[in-house]
């Protein structure tokens, strides 16, 4: 459960104040699949950083699973990220010279998961993103872009987070591989009940979610709840 109450964010540098978020209030329930949509520069990434406990809001309250994390210390925020949040980035951010499996197991190092269980957990995550098993021991720079993003999603899943945040996850992918990634999110949401927040500037990407929050100039201008317009049938892409 995510609750934002009048969140603002102003970047301050050398007497320059840039107000980016100007009072954001919304609630996202567990198991929701929400898209945050808005033009470039509207503050989407800034909002995602706050939602993901990578950054703190200037004012306002952020309650994650009932805990007000607005005024947590940096190390407390690390704990929140480790325990509750999985990130998927536009640029994938995989360790290039490590294998697929090692990339996925990376968060387990910081969670101090027993070594014996790690491979099993990582394998399960990779399977649920549809990553073919014969690629698990490839280096992560030897696989395709779509596969890289699936590895990144698997990495976001291993700590069993209550929230998955994806910032323009299809931005670096062609439409076909982009659809595979979006289909993966849909399946994780429908079949595993994961809460997913998808950030995008494209309507046809946002329409894969059940709800769209429209962000403009640091404010939510429209909150549209609808039945998903686009459903990806993963079977179409299993050959990938």
């Amino acid at each position: 459960m995510i609750e934002l109450r009048n969140i603002t964010k102003t970047y301050e540098s050398d007497e320059m104040k840039t107000p980016v978020l100007k009072g954001i209030t919304f609630t996202i329930k567990d198991g929701d699949f929400v898209a945050i949509m808005g033009p470039s520069g509207s503050g989407k990434s800034t909002l995602m950083h706050i939602l993901g406990a990578l950054d703190s809001a200037s004012t306002g309250q952020y309650l994650l699973d009932g805990k007000n994390i607005s005024d947590f210390t940096e190390d407390q925020l690390s704990d929140i990220r480790r325990e509750k949040i999985g990130f998927v980035f536009q640029a994938f951010n995989l360790l290039p010279r490590a294998t697929v499996l090692r990339n996925v197991m990376l968060p387990l190092i910081y969670a101090e998961t027993p070594v014996k269980e790690r491979e099993k957990i990582a394998g399960r995550a990779l399977l649920s993103t549809g990553m073919p098993e014969d690629r698990w021991n490839h280096h992560s720079n030897q696989i395709s872009g779509g596969q890289m993003q699936r590895v990144a999603i698997a990495r976001a899943l291993v700590n069993n987070p209550s929230l998955i945040l994806a910032d323009e996850p299809t931005g670096n992918l062609d439409s076909k591989t982009g659809n595979i990634v979006l289909g993966t999110f849909q399946r994780l949401n429908k079949e595993e009940g994961r809460t997913i927040i998808l950030i995008t500037h494209e309507l046809d990407v946002a329409e894969h979610a059940d709800r769209i929050l429209h962000l403009k100039d640091g404010l939510i201008v429209k909150d549209s709840l609808h039945h998903t317009k686009r459903i990806i049938k993963m079977n179409d892409y299993d050959a990938d």
Binding site: L54, N93, L95, L106, I109, Y110, E112
Partner: protein, 405 residues
């Protein structure tokens, strides 16, 4: 983060760029190796100097003519003439705690035997010389007190002198040697003391001191008196007794104006080892500079690594790494480099020390303490020079780090 994970992450990061890690490590290798080698050579020199001082005898007080002027190099010492046989006899009679007294008068002469000739040191000595200087006889005997008193023209050859004049290993007892045109009967050959160079104790001839005074040098003055104390504890009392006795005999009131110098062996050893100690320290200090340069190399590499891996650091933070996770990881990388470098450096340093000692004949001793010190110092360098880069990595803002191109 668990220790095993820290070690695995560190190992894989360091081996990621093997050439760079290796070259950076080389700085530490060279630094540690030179410190180890320099200390080994210095301590070896110290050991060999104190050994050679010990080899002239034990518990000795040595009296030489000439004044001792503190803080000043006395050029006159040895050439001054003030010690006589009477002084040696008086020491023997009047000082308690004395084991043996050996008056000595040395001079170089042309020596011939069987048509071969050589120029060597002829030591006029008392019968106690063998006791005082630990001189052992290989063949025949040393001369006795009676032979000294009767001014017998007998000689004991050093092994090198024997080899030079008669050939290696020749049996020479009973043969004749001509020193400064006077014939001496050879009654013994000394055992080798080992040694080489200018003051080779093996290249000497020993004759009774009375013969040296009356037939060879024609001078009644001694070049030194060596006195052996009965024990280590007696060394200083004997030295003080001799100083007082000789001042009285030479009619000297002011110790600053005395015409002889009595030093004890312990002081000589101490003085020599303080000189070689300073020498060792100096060598080590010079070598430490290369260690410092190596440490700066580590810091430079770590800063580069932190910059290159900014995005990776951002990602690790995003997936839950704390500041201390990040800073330990980079610190561990620096320590792994310096510790491994230190290990290789110790081996290389021992290698250099061994080569130096076999190539130049300088004995070296590799002390365990200097090896442990080297490991301690190299890890310390890792911590000191890795700390700042690690802090820089730990303090990176994850958002900016992820955005870094």
């Amino acid at each position: 983060m668990m220790l095993t994970d820290l070690l695995i992450e560190t190992y894989s990061a360091v081996t990621m760029n093997k050439a760079r890690s290796g070259l950076t490590m080389l700085g530490i290798v060279i630094g540690i190796a030179s410190v180890i080698a320099m200390i080994s050579i210095g301590q070896g020199a110290q050991q060999s100097i104190s050994n050679s001082i010990q080899s002239i005898g034990s518990n000795l007080v040595i009296i030489v003519p000439g004044a001792q002027k503190p803080g000043q190099f006395s050029s006159g010492r040895g050439s001054a003439q003030s010690l006589k046989m009477g002084d040696a006899d008086a020491i023997q009679k009047e000082i308690s705690g004395v084991q043996a007294v050996s008056p000595e008068s040395s001079k170089r002469y042309q020596v011939t035997a069987k048509g071969k000739n050589t120029n060597t040191t002829v030591v006029g000595a008392g019968a106690a010389y063998t006791t005082v200087h630990n001189l052992e006889i290989e063949e025949g005997n040393f001369f006795t007190d009676t032979q000294v008193k009767s001014q017998a023209k007998v000689a004991i050859l050093g092994p090198t002198t024997r080899n030079d004049l008669f050939g290696a290993g020749a049996s020479v007892v009973g043969q004749t040697v001509r020193i400064n045109k006077i014939n001496f009967k050879i009654i013994g050959v000394a055992k080798s003391k080992g040694g080489s160079g200018f003051a080779n104790p093996d290249d000497q001839i020993y004759v009774p001191v009375s013969v040296q005074i009356h037939f060879l040098s024609g001078s009644e003055y001694l070049s030194s008196i060596s006195v052996q104390a009965q024990s280590q504890d007696q060394l200083v009392p004997v030295q003080n007794g001799i100083t007082a006795l000789l001042m009285q005999r030479h009619n000297i009131k002011n110790p600053d104006l005395s015409d002889f110098t009595a030093v004890n062996q312990a002081d000589i050893v101490a003085a020599a080892s303080s000189v070689t100690g300073i020498f060792t320290l100096l060598l080590a200090a010079i070598a430490s500079i290369s260690l410092l340069v190596g440490g700066i190399g580590i810091m430079n590499m770590m800063l580069t690594t932190v910059t290159e891996r900014t995005r990776e650091i951002g990602l690790r933070k995003a997936i839950g790494a704390t500041r201390s996770d990040i800073s330990f990881q980079f610190l561990a990388e620096a320590i792994l480099l310096t510790f491994t470098g230190g290990g290789i450096g110790v081996l290389l340093g021992i290698g250099i020390a061994t080569v130096v000692s076999s190539a130049f004949g300088i004995p070296t001793t590799v002390a365990m303490s200097s090896i442990l010190l080297a490991f301690g110092v190299s890890s310390g360098i890792g911590i000191v020079f890795g700390y700042y880069p690690a802090q820089r990595a730990a303090k990176l803002n994850p958002i900016e780090a992820l955005r870094y191109e």
